[in-house]
Amino acid sequence: MINPFEILETINMIDRENLDIRTITMGISLKDCTDPDVDRACDKIYSKITTYAKDLVKVGEDIEKQFGIPIINKRISLTPVATVIDALENPDTTKCLKIAKTLDKAAKAVGVNFIGGYSALVHKGFTKGERVLIESIPTVLSNTDIVCSSVNVGSTRAGINMDAVALMGKIIKEAAEMTKDNGGFACAKLVVFCNAVEDNPFMAGAFHGEGEGDAVINVGVSGPGVVKCALEKVKGAPFDVVAETIKNTAFKITRMGQLVASEASKRLGVPFGIVDLSLAPTPAVGDSVAYILEEMGLEKCGTHGTTAALALLNDAVKKGGVMASSHVGGLSGAFIPVSEDAGMIAAAKEGALSIEKLEAMTCVCSVGLDMIVVPGDTTADTISCIIADEAAIGMVNSKTTAVRIIPAPNTDVGDEVDFGGLLGTGPVMPLRKYSGSEFVARGGRIPAPLQSLKN
């Protein structure tokens, strides 16, 4: 029989330390759902999603019961929908909305809580359909409930498409304006990426990549609370011990993810893709990445030393997790979404955490400026400049970076915007006052960087 202490450790992790499986995400290809006629395309999409994912929620709940592990979200990611839009005859926003509403309806029919993949990959240039899709994003996100959208504007191999960066600034502003009664909620469902990954199970940036098969099961684990509790036991110990402790914990968390992923894959008859090793916080107290950093000895997340602490955390999580799973992928790192993390919210409110520090943190951790609320009068050009900065960090460091920013209409620094549920509450953060309009207006592409002579 297994050691009783190990059994109690697992139960303690689940009961008291918020250990959970954050998401089981089914990736579904839409490559065989294209059609010049929008109604026929919608029929094909609806029928494919509702057939493939019909048991997803039930299987998730069954696994939850049998193993006693909470599985918080069941979700679907799709081939970037631009592929479908490109095949349409005379695509326009009305047709895009029709397709997006079909996605919304299909997702609700199978009971998932988000469907991602209303996406376009335009790091080098736009096709006609991609441009139409991007222009339709504000309308789509403000007229659907659970559709998520992402746009990839740069990559290490292609450079940064500054025309797309300029456009995304305007799109984000427009999306915020169209949902101004809800604090610009549409922007919480929109991610702008550099080096987007094809197998990310986490929303809002999940899509089913070009290189993926017909369908796949990806699993995102979580457990900031477990890591924090483990670190409480090694107070004052040197970083070697800290790193070892995080690795041990990450290993156990990931094993659970691997078990759930292979079980879900077997029961659904869909191949297992990857386990994403990210530490994903929630607004619940005790489920915060910021508190892990503070446990390492920082008075407040965002103070000097935060980047180093995060670098160690992120690396140790990966090292511990890699051996625990047969396939690791997705974003795999620590997430730092400000509004979704109790410790980040507190640090931002007290002025300990600034956008500049968050930007520095994104150099060493997964993703980027995530769920950041900025004043309502922030211009589209300023948002584009923020996207360009973040994309540059991703491009040069060969990593994924992203921007999910909410210029909440009619708010200013000091206000707070409540998005509800897992998306949490965001304090409005101050930005620099100087303009980058002429910089954005140049357009064109920032060339791909050298991969040698690194300094």
Binding site: I2, I7, F67, G68, K252
Partner: protein, 88 residues
């Protein structure tokens, strides 16, 4: 399928009786038991059981009800979870 039942809480008479009766009524065979009372009167029992044809979900719900009744924390989980997390 084998599963692990864990019972943790303040010690009191009849805990083993109540839990094992429920398992017996659901035709679940107990393969192994480890039980201890730790300091501060905290009772801890771990059972390895053979579920046979019983459904984990159904029995789990009954155990949950019992846990409310006797004020203990009771879990029923597939054994595979612990093997995965703690064994390579």
């Amino acid at each position: 399928m084998r599963a692990v039942v864990t019972v943790v809480g303040k010690d009191r008479p009849g805990i083993i009786a109540r839990v094992s009766t429920l398992l017996y009524e659901n035709e679940i065979n107990i393969l192994d038991i480890s039980q201890t009372v730790m300091t501060d009167d905290i009772f801890t029992m771990i059972m390895l059981v053979d579920m046979r044809s019983s459904s984990v979900g159904e029995v789990g719900e009954k155990l949950l009800k019992l846990s409310d009744e006797i004020g203990m924390s009771i879990h029923l989980q597939n054994e595979e979870l612990f093997n995965s997390m703690h064994r390579i």
